[in-house]
């Protein structure tokens, strides 16, 4: 891809904003529009912007393709782990109230929902980025 100063500068500026916004969407999901999935995709979109601006290989070197898989596994582990914690606390799967009453902390379920959303977000981000880089990947040449 040709060097393009405008695209690179603009994306260098806007990527952090997109990422902060994505985090806001994930964390704010329980009370407003958004949630783990949307935030995760928005986060992935920031990487897609980087793919387009800086080419696939440069970004992948920094991100690490293996790490993407690890991220997705961590995300699912958070989600399933909280689910299993609920089982251990004597409730049904993902019954947050069970943990809340077992630990004895009020309003814990809000944080648990946030944690689950975070897990979903991480997984979605990693999976989306790896799908995109898979489809784009063509012997180092980017579209």
């Amino acid at each position: 891809m040709r060097e393009n100063v405008v695209i690179r500068t603009i994306s260098r500026i806007s990527v952090p904003f997109i990422q902060v916004f994505a985090l806001y969407v994930i964390v704010h999901g329980a009370v407003g529009a958004g949630g783990g999935f949307q935030g995760g995709v928005a986060f992935a979109a920031s990487f897609i912007l980087m793919f387009i601006a800086f080419g696939l290989s440069g970004v992948e070197k920094r991100l690490g393709k293996k790490w993407l898989m690890v991220y997705s596994i961590i995300g699912i582990a958070i989600y399933a782990g909280i689910g299993f914690l609920c089982l251990a606390a004597g409730g049904n799967y993902l019954e947050y109230g069970a943990i809340e009453s077992a630990v004895g902390v009020a309003h814990l379920h809000g944080y648990l929902i946030d944690a689950v959303e975070m897990g979903i977000g991480i997984t979605v981000m990693a999976v989306m980025v790896s799908i995109i880089s898979d489809v784009m990947d063509r012997d180092g040449e980017s579209p």
Binding site: V31, G32, A33, G35, F37, I131, D134, V135
Partner: protein, 124 residues
């Protein structure tokens, strides 16, 4: 006349959704180009989503967002929204799988339209 207008105003969403569905299905079945087929698939799916969102909508309702204490409002039905979120995820995964299959087919046969593909498959 009034009644006709009334019926039209309360149902045009569904009519449009059905038209979009038909456009999508037509592309899915009649178009030769494989990428066009997937575009048709996308249109077909979004039309179904439109159908769901249309019946979730309530006259004078507001978006299902948590309001501060003490405020009252009629919410639109949030359940179809949640269902459609899931369906959108499914849709994008199907699109991704389909496109990567098309890329593989192109690498293997060098064509992405159905007639040419049929010829190439027969020849091998």
């Amino acid at each position: 006349m009034e009644a006709v207008l009334e019926a039209f105003l309360s149902h045009y969403n569904y009519g449009m959704a059905i038209i979009l569905m038909m456009i999508g299905l037509y592309a899915l079945i009649a178009k030769q180009n494989l990428v066009k087929k997937l575009i048709g698939l996308n249109i077909f799916q979004t039309a179904i989503f439109l159908f769901y969102i249309s019946f979730a909508d309530v006259e004078g309702g507001i978006a299902p967002i948590y309001l501060p204490e003490g405020m009252e409002a009629i919410y639109v039905n949030p359940l179809p929204h949640v269902l459609i979120l899931t369906a959108i995820v499914v849709g994008v995964s199907v699109t991704a799988v389909g496109l990567s299959l098309i890329v593989r087919i192109y690498e293997e046969y060098g064509v992405i339209d159905e007639a040419g593909l049929l010829k190439m498959v027969k020849r091998r």
